[in-house]
Amino acid sequence: MFRELNPLLHSELRLAVMSILIGVECADFVFLRKQTGATAGNLSVQIDKLQRAGYIEVEKTYRGKMPCTICRMTDTGREAFAEYVDALKSYIG
């Protein structure tokens, strides 16, 4: 029996962002952009969607004079990610 995959995570870029954040305490926007290879605009939109779903927290701060956006996964995000991986197993296994 196949389980339904969370549509919010079943998008390549959003899934990539969540996969990075699951392994770290927090990561900044520049790092996420480099790791995913996404454009700044696209990444920004996807981060916003994840934030609105409560999966990640976004903190806008300054590093010296440069603006800096730091993302970290919430407990809700961690649960959603775990459920997504579990559901994936039902397709692959």
Partner: protein
């Protein structure tokens, strides 16, 4: 990773199931590799500084140079500290280093060890051999713990080897007490043993991790 960048995660398209798993494993692996690459630079900076300064100090003793050169030991914390600050700043600038739980644990281990060395420095002031042993031994412990936390077998092995190698200091001390040794090259060999331990503990794993990260 390049292949990955060119093809997919940057799209908003729904992914198929296998592709999803591929993205998850690839992103997790790339992130840990990035962390590995950054850590290796700290290892190399501290490792090379310690080894080069130690070799210099060995020649100061063997060649019986002016003992004011012994102040050069302080170059280790000065150069190592500056290198750490530069690497930290560089990482912050390019956003290259995500903050991980592992980082925090490893950083706590080294902070505690670093503080304990200042106490050891005061306690063992004037007893260089004991100080070399203590530094090499505790650094070996720190490296082994770091390797265990990061699940890096190489680092754990190098740390454990350093702990074992540090036993050479009391053995040499025992030999010095029981045999008449007057050769300065042997008397001051503690410093070279100290340098060799740092090669095993920091330079070897540093280069291996850096090369591994570059290959990917």
């Amino acid at each position: 990773m390049n292949e990955m960048k060119n093809s997919a995660p940057s799209t908003n398209e729904p992914s198929d199931e296998r592709r999803s798993l591929e993205i998850i494993s690839q992103m997790i692996a790339d992130t840990s590799r990035k962390i590995e690459q950054n850590s290796s630079l700290y290892f190399l900076a501290w490792g090379y500084t310690t080894v080069l300064v130690s070799i210099f100090e060995y020649f100061v003793w063997v060649a019986d140079l002016n003992k004011s050169w012994l102040w050069a030991w302080w170059l280790i914390p000065v150069i190592g500290g500056c290198a750490t600050l530069i690497l930290n700043r560089r990482e912050r600038k390019v956003g290259a280093h995500p903050k991980s739980y592992v980082d925090r644990s490893v950083s706590a281990v080294w902070t505690v060890l670093g503080l304990s060395w200042w106490i050891a420095f005061v306690v063992f002031f004037g007893n260089a051999s004991a100080f070399y042993f203590l530094i090499a031994y505790t650094m070996g412990i720190g490296t082994t713990i770091s390797g265990a936390i990061c699940r890096q077998r190489l680092l754990t092995i190098c740390g454990a080897m350093s702990i074992l190698l540090s036993v050479v200091f009391p053995l040499k001390r025992w030999a010095m007490i029981n045999y008449t040794i007057t050769e300065p090259a042997v008397i001051y060999a503690d410093i070279l043993i100290f340098a060799a331990i740092f090669v095993v503990m920091m330079i070897v794993p540093g280069h291996i991790y850096l090369n591994r990260a570059k290959k990917h």
